[in-house]
Symmetry: none
Subunit: 419 residues, 2 copies
Amino acid sequence: MRACIIAVGSELLTPHKVDTNSLFLTERLNDIGIDVRAKLVVGDDVDELARHVSAAIAWADVLAITGGLGPTEDDVTREAVARVLNAPLVLDPGILEGIRRRFARRGMEMPEINRRQAMVPRGAAVLPNPNGTAPGLWMQYGKCSIVLLPGPPREMQPMFEAVVAERLAPRTGGVALFRRVVRITGRPESDVDACVQPVYSRWLSRAVPISTTILGVLGQIELHLTARAPSRAAADAALDAAVAELQAVLGDSIYSVDGRQLEAVVGDLLRAQHLRIAVAESCTGGLLASRLTDVPGSSDYVDGGFVCYSNASKIDWLGVPEALIAEHGAVSEPVARAMAEGARARSGAPVGIGITGIAGPGGGTVEKPVGTVAMAVMVGGESRARTSRFIGGREQIKFQATQGALDMLRLMLIRRAAP
Amino acid sequence: MRACIIAVGSELLTPHKVDTNSLFLTERLNDIGIDVRAKLVVGDDVDELARHVSAAIAWADVLAITGGLGPTEDDVTREAVARVLNAPLVLDPGILEGIRRRFARRGMEMPEINRRQAMVPRGAAVLPNPNGTAPGLWMQYGKCSIVLLPGPPREMQPMFEAVVAERLAPRTGGVALFRRVVRITGRPESDVDACVQPVYSRWLSRAVPISTTILGVLGQIELHLTARAPSRAAADAALDAAVAELQAVLGDSIYSVDGRQLEAVVGDLLRAQHLRIAVAESCTGGLLASRLTDVPGSSDYVDGGFVCYSNASKIDWLGVPEALIAEHGAVSEPVARAMAEGARARSGAPVGIGITGIAGPGGGTVEKPVGTVAMAVMVGGESRARTSRFIGGREQIKFQATQGALDMLRLMLIRRAAP
């Protein structure tokens, strides 16, 4: 079954407001196997809303509309839907009485304007609203179920829970959607897609079909797997098998199949191997330490870090030899190594990371353009270093550098743990 | 003129993702007097996308579509639009060459799959993308201007700025919207609103009317002022007067009226006073140093920082007396002060910040619950310290602590500069 969600309200079309009701609705609809295929935000204009409602009921099995059920002239949802369904608006005495009583309980008389909220398209079922004056409405038009919900989340959410339980779930036949996110780093999106496309294209035709979306985000790629299954157990079995197939082609490039971010994965490896870490950062300016310490419980394995923005601080705080900087330049693998070694020596931690680079926009040269970053990782007696050229603005370069260094450490820790 | 925005991507139809590109697009369209009348999110399905595009071009003067321009099978925007416009997709050799060169610059060969990104509907104008492989596209269909933009904000935003300046603004003429953002920190939203509501309520009825939105975001409050005026000069005069009225009631609580973030404001004050800074962080874990160094050119005034997660690192790296920690606890103003002093002593910088606190979720006590943070700031011979209790999760507490410390420094620097 396919659903469409429409959020009504001109304030949702301004530059600083997003519709978040649709996230709740999507989750609840997915839970009972209904796919959300489109989300719309429409202003308080009866003609425009009617046009969008009319288009949606032509294809959707479920149309959920939030907002526009208040008492003012701006609240046009009832009118728009009535017009599209060609159902006259009639006064529902039960709703009117409910609204009157609600005002009376607060010692107030119902303003005349609130009568609007008691007007319903003929034939609509009324959904009670214990948390506000606007009742919800439920209508069937051909194969499309239409549900009108109030905008405030605390009124909308309990009402929709009841709609799902009593009206929608009994019709879906028990198939639901289950998701898994696979995270990959260190490879370009097109390369990952070329590897996995032959794999995931087979999944759609299986007994438990799995659809896949590839999402390239800064410094990593996400594969979103969605299984359609009659139970969580069936979905988990299918998703486990699918993830195993991805791991067979992508190997260690996959860093997480359970929602964890890279800093949490690295943290768990450090904790499991009883290793503590200290870092030394130049161009990333503390972002690496900040990401490591974003993880709850990271004091178990993080000793701390040094942000060495100047050459003097690299020399004074970390003992990087001045001659090394003079010979190779501050942005070089030998200096990154000496920084990692310095952080280890100062802290006594067995794991050290050194990052030095040019985050821009200034400071680039022909030989070392903006985005050039040298990274070194030391774990016990082992060390690795590499130099990358990252693309993007200052904050993007900083992030990618931390991602690169964390991934180097992850791979070293995995190999170290292997028998 | 009426605009429609469509965000393409199945991941945007999941329960945990919202489309934020449309906020930027809305702001820029509003700036030139174009009204956004509907926003849609549609999945990676060519038939469904084509249906929505077809409906939109029937009423919209401008249709902006973001996403779905990548190289994979999932990326169907080009195909859907070509189908609706009945324009065949043809290979654009210029785009292909650009993509090849982009890969070559990173020493890579272009994967065959990226050829897809060089296919354009016949007759479309190509919008260059300096920040990625996917070019944008511009088409005219009847009265509707259609612009296809890549999904990643850092690729989409500069491209759309160019589209607005070169293609859309010349067609709108007349009255436009002009915005100003006033940023405030250190006061609760309700308090700010009570102060400023009598001020901004007068602005709506002026010759150049200004509407105001209050936006409480983590650790700060933003006032968005929107003037409707026939020219930038008229808008600027009205906005300058409005900002002056706000400054009269809010004083130093306003840290920025020109779009700068707090770390940039503090950076500019340090630069103007020829002061260098070093920081010492415990619970913020490097976030303060990272924010300071997010600002281009921050190497002019940032020496660096110490992330001291353990007591041992506070003692060994910064010379915090062990007895001080034993007497007051690691989370205390005396320790924050000693950390700031240690950072200054190690670096020779005249400005030092020390932050120590409990970011949670573990580590809280009855006396010092999660969210308790001690901050100390030293500038030359002056010092200030305070303890706050921040609310929220780990990352929220970290951010608010950096915000609090930066604002303490800002106020000290302002007073220092005053005659």
